[in-house]
C-alpha cells in the first residue's frame, strides 16, 4: 500500500533497512525480511504485511 515511505528509527536516527527478523506463533517460529533499524534492530511491520501474509499465517497456524 505504501509507496516506499521513509522510515527513521527515532532512537538511532537511522533509516530502516531490510533485515531478517524472527517471529513465532503457537509453537512455530519463522523468519522473514522486514524493515529494521541497522543499529538497534527495531522492527517496522507495515499494515499491508500484517493484514496480508501475516494474517494468512495466523489463520493457518490456528487451524494446524
Amino acid at each position: 500500500m505504501e509507496e516506499k515511505p521513509t522510515l527513521i528509527c527515532s532512537r538511532c536516527q537511522l533509516e530502516l533497512e531490510e533485515a531478517e527478523a524472527q517471529f513465532s506463533y503457537l509453537n512455530s517460529s519463522m523468519r522473514h525480511k522486514v524493515k529494521r533499524c541497522p543499529s538497534c534492530g527495531q522492527v517496522y511491520l507495515p499494515e499491508s504485511l500484517v493484514t496480508g501474509r501475516m494474517r494468512e499465517l495466523e489463520d493457518a497456524l490456528e487451524e494446524k
Binding site: 522510515l7 527515532s10 534492530g41 500484517v50 490456528e62
Partner: protein
C-alpha cells in the same frame, strides 16, 4: 471426552431411509434416485439390477413395500418408486449383463426348485463361479412366476441375466429325500421347493437351516410362505448365507432389516403432487421419471445440519466434527499431528440447540466446551481468541466496576429500623447491561427497590467468559467468589436480568434461589392491576407502572400513537432462556399489556443464539456475523430482546432492536412513536464503543453508590495525561479489533518512554507497537503534549521475537 464419543454411537446420520429398510432387496435408494434424478438411466438400471437380480420381473411384480414406509405419505402421496423403477427398465436399451472373468470355485451347491428363490440364489452363486446344480421337478424355469407374468417376459429376463453363467440345470428331476443327493459332493443345499413343497424337515428348525452330515441345508422362498418377489429377494440373500457358511462354517440365515430409525426433517416435506403418467400404459416418460424422482427427499437425519449454526456454517456433519475435535484435542507435541478444529472449537455459540434437537441426544455443545478445556490445559488454545473477553470480565469484576451491596438503608429505613435488616432480594443485572445501557440498570434497580425495599445489588460478571475460554480453574474461582458474595449478602434470592447469567447460576450454583427480573416486574404489574392502580395500560400510551413520569404524556402524543396503530415487534428469545417458559411468558405479557403486537416470524422455532454466546467473535468473526444475520432473517419485524447482548448484536448489524427494559422505561414518559421504541429508531447510534462501555461501567458504579448509598466514589485517576483524537471510522476499526483507547495509550506510553518508535517524515507521524498479552498493537500517531492524533491502528497475533537481540550484538530486553 470418552463419554461424548459414546453418544455419537447413536448418531443416525448413516441410517438407511425407511423405504430401503422396507425393501427386501436392500436397494440403495439414495444411489438409485440420484442417478435417475440426473437422467442417468443406464446407471440407475445397473444399481437396480444389482439389487433385484431380475429387473424386468421385479419391476412388473414388486408390491412396492417402500410406499408404505415413505414419509411423504404424511403430506401428499408416497414417492412412486415402483413406477420409477418400471420406467427405468423400459427406458434402458442395453440390458445385457457384463461378463466378468472370475476364477471358478470348487464348492458345489445344490438348489432344489427353479422358482424365484432358487433362481435368485443360483444367479448370485453362479456369478461368483460356485458350481451350482439346480433340480427342478418341472421342465421350465420360473416356478410361481408362471401365471403372474407372460413366460415371454420372465423367461427372457432369466435367460438374459444368466447368459454368462454356468449352471447345471436338471429339469424333470424331483428330489424327495436327502439321500438322493448323498452321492453328489455338495457343500450346501438350498431348498426352494415353493409353496407347499417338500421342506426336508427344515421348517421345524428355527431359523430354517441346519448342518446335516457335513452339509449345510437352507430352506426359503415360497416354501416359507413368501410371495414371489419376496421369495426372489430371499433367494438372493440366501446366496450370501451360503457363502458365509462356505467361508466360515457358520450358519447364518438372512435377516429382515430393522425398521429405519431415521428422523425426517419436516421442513423438507413440502407438498408436491405425484407425477401422473400421461401415456396409456401408465409408464413414465424420461421426464416424468426424473420429476417423480425429484419428489424424493432422500430421507436422512439432518436436523443438525439445518438447525445447528456451527454445522451449517462449516457445512459439516457432526461425525466429521467429532473426528476433527478428537484429533485436535489429543495431546501431542508434534506439529505434524493435525489440529484442524482449533477454530471450530472456539466458534460454537454454546446455545444448546444441537443437543436439544438431535434425536440421538448427542451433546456436541458440551463436547466442544470440554475440548476448549483440553486446549486450555494443553496450552494450545490461541490466547488471542478469548483475551479480550477475559480482560473485560476482569474489569467488570474489578474495583472500578463491581458493586456488591446489601439493600440501601435509606430506602429500607423502616425495615432496617424494625431490626429486620436482611436483604431479601439482590439484583444481578449482569456485566454487559451496565456497559451498554447503564441507565437501564439504574432504572431496574429503582423499580425493584420500589417493589421490595430490602433489595441489594451485585454488579459484576457471572464468570461465563472463563468457562467459555476453557479455563476451568479460573472458572471455579469465579463460582466460589460469586458464592462468597451471595453468602455475604445473607443468602438472598437473586433477581436476574441476563438469561445467560441465570443459566450459569442454575448450572453451577444450584443452591441460590433465582427469579428473573421480568417475572418480578410482571408479578408486580399483575398485583397492581388487581389492586386497581393504573399500570401500563391496555394501550401503548397508558401510564407507566412507575407512574411518576406519566404526567408528561400529552393527549396529542397519545392520539399520535393511536393513529399509528399498534407497534408490531418480534420477541427474540435468548438461547439461554429456551427452556424458561416463565421468562418468555413474562416478556410477552409486559409487551402485550403495553399494546404491542407480537410477530412470530417465519421460523419461530428456530431461534438459536444471536452470535454472542460462546464468544466466537474473535476466533471467527465471519461466523458471528453469519449467526446474527441468520437470526435477523427470521422476521422483518423489530426485535425485542431480554438479553442486552442480543440487542447489541442485532443493533450492530443494523437490525432495529431494543431491550424490553427500554420499552418499560419509556412507556408513559412521552408516548410518541419514537419514544415507544427508542433503540428501534435510533439503531446502532445508541451503541457505545468498547472504550465507552468500560467508562459506562465505572460511571454506573459511581451513580449507584451516590444515589442509593450516598457514597462518593473517587474518580478513576487518568493514567495518561494526554487526549486521543480518533476519527469515527478508526473507532469502528478499533471495535472490530477489540482495541480500547487505553490500549493505544499503553503503546504510545512505552514507545515514548523508551523512545522506541519509527518516524515517518512524509506524514510527520510515528509508528510504534507493543505486545498486549497475546496480541501486538501497532499505532501510528502524530502530536505530542496534550494531544495525540491517532492515524491508524492494526494488530497481529504473531510475536516478534527478541527484537533487540540483533545480529548477536544486542542483548537488551527492554520491550516488555
Amino acid at each position: 471426552m470418552k463419554e461424548f464419543l459414546k453418544t455419537f454411537e447413536d448418531c443416525i446420520q448413516w441410517e438407511r431411509p425407511p423405504c430401503a429398510t422396507a425393501c427386501p432387496f436392500n436397494l440403495d435408494v439414495f444411489d438409485f434416485q440420484e442417478k435417475v434424478a440426473r437422467g442417468s438411466f443406464m446407471s440407475a438400471y445397473r444399481t437396480y439390477r444389482n439389487a433385484v437380480g431380475f429387473p424386468d420381473i421385479v419391476a412388473r411384480l414388486c408390491p412396492a413395500w417402500c410406499q408404505a414406509a415413505c414419509p411423504r405419505k404424511t403430506v401428499d402421496t408416497s414417492v412412486r418408486l415402483d413406477l420409477i423403477e418400471r420406467a427405468c427398465v423400459e427406458l434402458v436399451k442395453r440390458k445385457d449383463p457384463t461378463d466378468y472373468n472370475v476364477p471358478v470355485k470348487e464348492q458345489r451347491i445344490a438348489i432344489i426348485g427353479a422358482g424365484p428363490a432358487g433362481l435368485g440364489c443360483a444367479l448370485r452363486l453362479a456369478s461368483k463361479r460356485y458350481q451350482v446344480v439346480v433340480y427342478e421337478a418341472g421342465s421350465e424355469k420360473g416356478g410361481s412366476l408362471d401365471g403372474l407374468l407372460s413366460p415371454d417376459i420372465y423367461l427372457t429376463d432369466i435367460e438374459r441375466q444368466m447368459r454368462h453363467l454356468e449352471i447345471d440345470w436338471r429339469f424333470d428331476q424331483q428330489i424327495n429325500t436327502a439321500e438322493e443327493l448323498a452321492a453328489e459332493n455338495f457343500n450346501a443345499v438350498f431348498v426352494a421347493t415353493g409353496q407347499g413343497g417338500n421342506d426336508f424337515g427344515l421348517l421345524t428348525e428355527q431359523p430354517a437351516c441346519a448342518i446335516r452330515e457335513d452339509r449345510a441345508w437352507f430352506a426359503g422362498g415360497g416354501l416359507t410362505g413368501l410371495e414371489p418377489v419376496a421369495a426372489l429377494a430371499q433367494g438372493l440373500a440366501m446366496a450370501w448365507a451360503i457363502e458365509v457358511y462356505l467361508k466360515t462354517d457358520k450358519l447364518e440365515y438372512p435377516k429382515t432389516a430393522e425398521p429405519s430409525r431415521t428422523v425426517v426433517n419436516q421442513h423438507l416435506l413440502t407438498p408436491t403432487p405425484m407425477v401422473e403418467a400421461q401415456s396409456a400404459d401408465g409408464i413414465y416418460t424420461d421426464e416424468e421419471t426424473i420429476a417423480e424422482a425429484g419428489r424424493c427427499i432422500r430421507c436422512q437425519c439432518d436436523i443438525c445440519r439445518t438447525d445447528c449454526d456451527l454445522c451449517r456454517f462449516y457445512n459439516r456433519w457432526p461425525l466429521k466434527i467429532r473426528d476433527e475435535i478428537m484429533s485436535t484435542t489429543m495431546s501431542h507435541e508434534s506439529q505434524l499431528n493435525p489440529a484442524p478444529a482449533k477454530r471450530l472449537i472456539n466458534t460454537c455459540t454454546q446455545c444448546g440447540l444441537f443437543e436439544e434437537r438431535c434425536p440421538a441426544s448427542i451433546d456436541l455443545g458440551e463436547m466442544i466446551l470440554e475440548a476448549r478445556r483440553r486446549l486450555h490445559r494443553q496450552d494450545t488454545m490461541p490466547r488471542a481468541f478469548h483475551q479480550f473477553w477475559l480482560e473485560d470480565m476482569a474489569y467488570a469484576n474489578g474495583e472500578w466496576a463491581a458493586v456488591c451491596k446489601p439493600a440501601p438503608a435509606g430506602q429500607a429505613a423502616e425495615v432496617f429500623a424494625a431490626g429486620k435488616g436482611k436483604t431479601k432480594d439482590v439484583f444481578f443485572p449482569g456485566c454487559q447491561m451496565g456497559a451498554s445501557a447503564p441507565d437501564l440498570v439504574l432504572y431496574a434497580y429503582r423499580r425493584l427497590l420500589a417493589l421490595e425495599p430490602a433489595t441489594g445489588i451485585m454488579l459484576r460478571c457471572c464468570g461465563v467468559p472463563v468457562e467459555w475460554a476453557g479455563d476451568d480453574a479460573a472458572f471455579q474461582l469465579e463460582i466460589e467468589s460469586l458464592r462468597a458474595e451471595w453468602k455475604s449478602l445473607g443468602q438472598p434470592r437473586m433477581v436476574m436480568a441476563c438469561p445467560t447469567c441465570m443459566r450459569m447460576f442454575k448450572r453451577h450454583l444450584p443452591e441460590i434461589p433465582l427469579v428473573s427480573l421480568y417475572e418480578v416486574l410482571v408479578e408486580a404489574e399483575d398485583k397492581a392491576s388487581i389492586a386497581g392502580t393504573p399500570v401500563a395500560g391496555a394501550s401503548a400510551a397508558g401510564a407507566s407502572a412507575v407512574g411518576t413520569s406519566a404526567a408528561g404524556a400529552g393527549t396529542a402524543a397519545e392520539e399520535a400513537v393511536a393513529a399509528a396503530g399498534p407497534a408490531v415487534v418480534h420477541v427474540f428469545d435468548a438461547c439461554s432462556a429456551r427452556n424458561e417458559a416463565g421468562i418468555q411468558q413474562a416478556v410477552r405479557q409486559l409487551l402485550d399489556s403495553r399494546g404491542y403486537q407480537l410477530s412470530v416470524g417465519e421460523h419461530p422455532e428456530k431461534e438459536a443464539c444471536c452470535g454472542y454466546g460462546g464468544q466466537p467473535d474473535v476466533a471467527n468473526p465471519e461466523f458471528a456475523r453469519f449467526v446474527a444475520k441468520s437470526r435477523i432473517a427470521a422476521d422483518p419485524a423489530p426485535f425485542v430482546t431480554y438479553c442486552i447482548n442480543c440487542r447489541d448484536i442485532f443493533l450492530g448489524e443494523g437490525k432495529p432492536a431494543c431491550h424490553i427494559l427500554e420499552i418499560i422505561e419509556k412507556t408513559g414518559k412521552k408516548a410518541t412513536e419514537q419514544d415507544r421504541s427508542p433503540a428501534l429508531t435510533q439503531g446502532r447510534e445508541v451503541l457505545p464503543d468498547l472504550t465507552a462501555r468500560r467508562r459506562n461501567r465505572t460511571q454506573l458504579k459511581q451513580n449507584l453508590l451516590k444515589e442509593f448509598w450516598e457514597e462518593i466514589m473517587p474518580e478513576k485517576p487518568r493514567e495518561y495525561d494526554y487526549q486521543l483524537q480518533i476519527d469515527p471510522e478508526l473507532r469502528k476499526k478499533m471495535d472490530q479489533q477489540k482495541i480500547l483507547e487505553d490500549d493505544i495509550c499503553k503503546v504510545i506510553d512505552l514507545a515514548e518512554q523508551l523512545d522506541r518508535r519509527i518516524y515517518r517524515p512524509e506524514t510527520d507521524s510515528y509508528v510504534c507497537y507493543r505486545e498486549l498479552g497475546a496480541i501486538s498493537l501497532w499505532v501510528e500517531y502524530r502530536g505530542s503534549g496534550d494531544d495525540r492524533e491517532i492515524i491508524n491502528i492494526y494488530t497481529h497475533r504473531v510475536k516478534i521475537e527478541l527484537e533487540m537481540v540483533y545480529n548477536g550484538r544486542k542483548t537488551d530486553f527492554d520491550l516488555q
